[in-house]
């Protein structure tokens, strides 16, 4: 059988100059374009695109609103997905996830302040992007290196047992919704 010119190797079409693009609108009304291969890294967005029946022809005319993610985080997410869109699929980590090495490019991308990182994780969780979630979690986990338990408590904002107990007591003492 001879292969028709219209049926190239799967990956070939993705590297062409005119890939299928989608538009995404963040909660603060910033508009982003993202290629098809990149958007597939987000299970939430890809399910949405599939369910909405968006195609190469109508994708740009139908921007997708994402109300839970602001423009700043969306920018980081789009950059990340475009960067990793051609990555090989990785096996799921059933044990520790320490085995992988965080690439320098991604470490730079995630060198943001803790509040931004926290918001990015929430966005990543909402958009269901496994690889970005693993990378963000690695950055946070690395903060624990060479720290004492007391230092960890401060870094991660962990209440003491006494504080936890006090919180629990006050919660049980306070009247419920019915009074």
């Amino acid at each position: 059988m001879s292969v028709e010119p219209e049926v190239p190797i799967v990956q070939v079409e993705e590297v062409r100059e005119n890939p299928v693009l989608y538009k995404i609108i963040s909660s603060d009304n910033h508009v982003f374009t993202i290629s098809e291969h990149a958007v597939k890294l987000s299970k939430t967005l890809w399910d949405l695109i599939t369910n909405l029946g968006l195609t190469a022809e109508n994708a740009l005319d139908n921007p997708i609103p994402v109300e839970n993610v602001n423009g700043k985080n969306m920018e980081t997410i789009v950059q990340f997905c475009e960067r990793h869109k051609y990555d090989e699929e990785e096996p799921e980590y059933t044990n520790y996830i320490r085995e992988f090495v965080l690439p320098e490019w991604d470490r730079q991308l995630l060198s943001i302040d803790n509040e931004e990182l926290f918001q990015l994780i929430l966005a990543t969780n909402y958009l269901d992007i496994q690889k970005l979630m693993d990378y963000c979690c690695r950055v946070i986990g690395d903060m624990a290196k060479d720290k004492t338990p007391e230092e960890l408590r401060i870094i991660y904002g962990i209440p003491t047992d006494a504080e936890d107990d006090a919180l629990e007591r006050s919660a049980s003492d306070s009247p419920g919704p019915s009074g």
Binding site: V15, F118, P149, G157, D164
Partner: protein
């Protein structure tokens, strides 16, 4: 401690919190657990398949077995005491107590999987640990007993007092010559491994034949033993009589062995060396390196057990250390003659040319000292003063003379030729001619070129003048952007391996003609300027039978428009779900998912495929053509 910003992990979604904790090392996780009861509950709830807890016990003043940067087991020393958490709750890794171990095992919901015992550990530490382990776990996956053993009280005590079974037992000991046989009780472990112990020294009497005869191990790899041919004969007869039905692999090092005593009274069938059979050990999740994963047995003596099971044994000669023989050869002419008369199989003469910088960077490298020492002796002994010696460096001429001497001593050719191609003024054509003249038909195992390469002319001259055979050609060159393709002549080696990718551009260092005219079995070509037309020619070339030996070719290329790749090629697209393996280069297995099947002129099927990957800030395509020699 000042913290500019905290990261409230407890406010994260639960899956993210799990991932954060799973991304930490074991020590960090333990420290995190000390922060609050809530964290203990969370850590215990994380689904971790099988967390490995490794414990090392050793004297405080002795270093850990593994360098700390590569592997950090929990450590217990003789400072051991029943202590609770220190004031700030910090885990003191050097003073692990039973309470801590109990706590850690409960935290990770697992037992100790690997135990490393320094043979000089104090008895109270070992005893306390064994009492605790006996009580809480029936099985230990791996146990390694190591160190400079002055007496074997600790080893004997270990076997006397432990009740739990061990799946893999490993020794890495230095034993005194007057060592008495160790009391193993019963060697019932699946795998018994003894490393170290050089057969060139006297071998202590540390193990008895009865220990082997009464064992129930599946795999036994014993580095060096005091056994004789008669002992090995008993072991073989023991197996024939069914003393250990689980036995799959047994290897033992002996100083000398009388073949007659070995074979006495054994019914066997001698197999020719052309009969090659492979033993593959079952995959086991042991922490300590295994003595065997797979091994090809060429020939040997087949024996049969009463139940019909067939086994093969071989007596292989392991040569004395070539270095020791070289030392000895320099003592006198008579010594040289004696060594020359010994037939030493595959002595492995490596000829390596490095730059002065590489030598100075490797000051702690024993090789420099070794060469310098021999430079002095050999210069005196063989009157090599006429050679040009530049300071402390050894010249190429001296290297050649030295290689000639060693090859002559062992009656062999050069087995590997490794050189930094950026050595100034290196006469590569001259070296090529020298190797050609002295190899006299013997095949060179490895030829490796490395270093920066601004100009390929000299390398082309090396390969242009080459007539000697190479088994594996390894190109590890960092090419400049303006290089011209190397004239390799005919690439006729089994392995052609050029995988340097540490360049910001794709150099034009190889032509497609080099591939089309080659006779290589496997070719791994790193970033190169091949076009879609070139790849099309490679595919067509294979279909028309230009290289019947080919098993795999890989080339990393720039992305291109895919259509000309298929021009004039009959192929069948396979499903993405179809996964096939091919044994590729050394230590590299190629997994092909889907791809396009083609059929060669002799009916053999092959598959080609292109995969994307990121390279620097660009995208590279990996082209594979895999031939299914044995079906798939």
């Amino acid at each position: 401690m000042e913290v500019s910003q905290l990261f409230p992990i407890l406010k994260l979604p639960f899956v993210a919190l799990w991932n954060v904790i799973r991304s930490m090392g074991m020590k960090e996780t333990i420290d995190l657990s000390f922060t609050s009861k809530k964290l203990v509950t969370i850590i215990k709830s994380i689904p971790i398949a099988d967390p490995e807890i490794t414990l090392e016990i050793r004297p405080a003043e002795q270093p850990p077995l593994f360098p700390e940067e590569t592997f950090q087991p929990l450590t217990m020393t003789e400072k051991f005491q029943k202590k609770t958490k220190s004031k700030d709750g910090k885990l003191d890794g050097k003073n692990m107590s039973i309470e801590y171990l109990e706590y850690i095992c409960a935290l990770f919901r697992n037992e100790i999987s690997t135990l490393l015992i320094n043979v000089n550990t104090s008895t109270p530490v070992l005893t306390s640990l064994l009492i605790w382990m006996n009580d809480r776990q029936p099985v230990l996956t791996s146990c390694l007993i190591y160190g400079d053993c002055k007496d074997h009280e600790i080893i004997d005590r270990f076997f006397e007092e432990r009740i739990f079974s061990i799946r893999q037992l490993c020794f890495k000991l230095k034993l005194p010559p007057d060592t008495k046989p160790l009391n193993f009780e019963s060697l019932e472990m699946e795998e018994f491994v003894v490393r170290t112990m050089d057969v060139t020294d006297s071998i202590p009497n540390w193990i008895t034949v009865d220990s082997v005869l009464t064992s129930n191990s599946i795999t036994m790899g014993i580095g060096a033993s005091p056994f004789t041919g008669t002992d090995l004969n008993r072991i073989i007869k023991g197996w024939i009589n069914g003393n250990n039905p689980r036995m799959e692999y047994f290897r033992v090092g002996v100083k000398r062995c009388n073949r007659q005593s070995l074979l006495d009274g054994i019914e066997f069938e001698k197999r020719e060396t052309t009969v090659k059979r492979m033993y593959i050990a079952e995959n086991k999740n042991y922490k300590i390196q295994r003595p065997i994963k797979k091994r090809t047995i060429s020939g040997g003596y087949d024996i049969r057990r009463n139940d019909g099971t067939v086994a093969t044994f071989q007596l292989l000669h392991s040569p004395q250390s070539p270095r020791a023989l070289i030392e000895l050869s320099l003592a006198s002419k008579k010594c040289r003659l004696i060594i020359k008369s010994i037939k030493i199989p595959n002595p492995g003469v490596d000829f390596k040319l490095v730059t002065s910088e590489e030598i100075s960077q490797g000051k702690n490298d024993a090789r420099e000292h070794y060469l310098q020492k021999h430079f002095d002796i050999l210069t005196k002994c063989l009157k090599l003063r006429t050679y040009d010696i530049d300071g402390e460096d050894i010249t190429v001429e001296f290297g050649r003379a030295w290689a000639e001497y060693v090859c002559d001593l062992f009656g062999s050719g050069i087995s590997s030729f490794i050189f930094n191609s950026s050595i100034p003024g290196l006469d590569l054509p001259g070296l090529s001619k020298w190797i050609k003249n002295r190899q006299s038909g013997s095949k060179m195992r490895l030829c490796r070129l490395y270093g920066d390469c601004k100009n390929t002319d000299n390398i082309s001259l090396f390969f242009g003048a080459r007539t000697f055979s190479i088994n594996h050609l390894s190109i590890q060159l960092k090419f400049s952007s303006g290089v011209t393709p190397i004239n390799f002549g005919i690439l006729d080696m089994d392995e052609f391996d050029a995988r340097t990718e540490d360049m910001p551009y794709i150099p034009n260092w190889i032509t497609v003609e080099s591939v089309l005219t080659s006779n290589c079995v496997r070719m791994w070509i790193g970033p190169c300027t091949f076009t879609t037309t070139d790849l099309n020619r490679i595919i067509k070339g294979w279909i028309s039978g230009n290289n019947p030996r080919l098993e795999m070719v890989h080339a990393a290329v720039k992305p291109f428009d895919g259509h000309p790749l298929f021009e004039g090629i009959e192929c069948e697209r396979r499903d993405f779900d179809l996964l096939r393996n091919s044994n590729g280069m050394v230590k590299r297995e190629v997994m092909i998912r889907g791809g396009f099947d083609i059929v060669g002129h002799d009916g053999t099927v092959a598959t080609f495929k292109i995969k994307n990957r990121r390279w620097n800030d660009k995208v590279l395509w990996d082209f594979y053509l895999v031939v299914w020699k044995n079906g798939y």
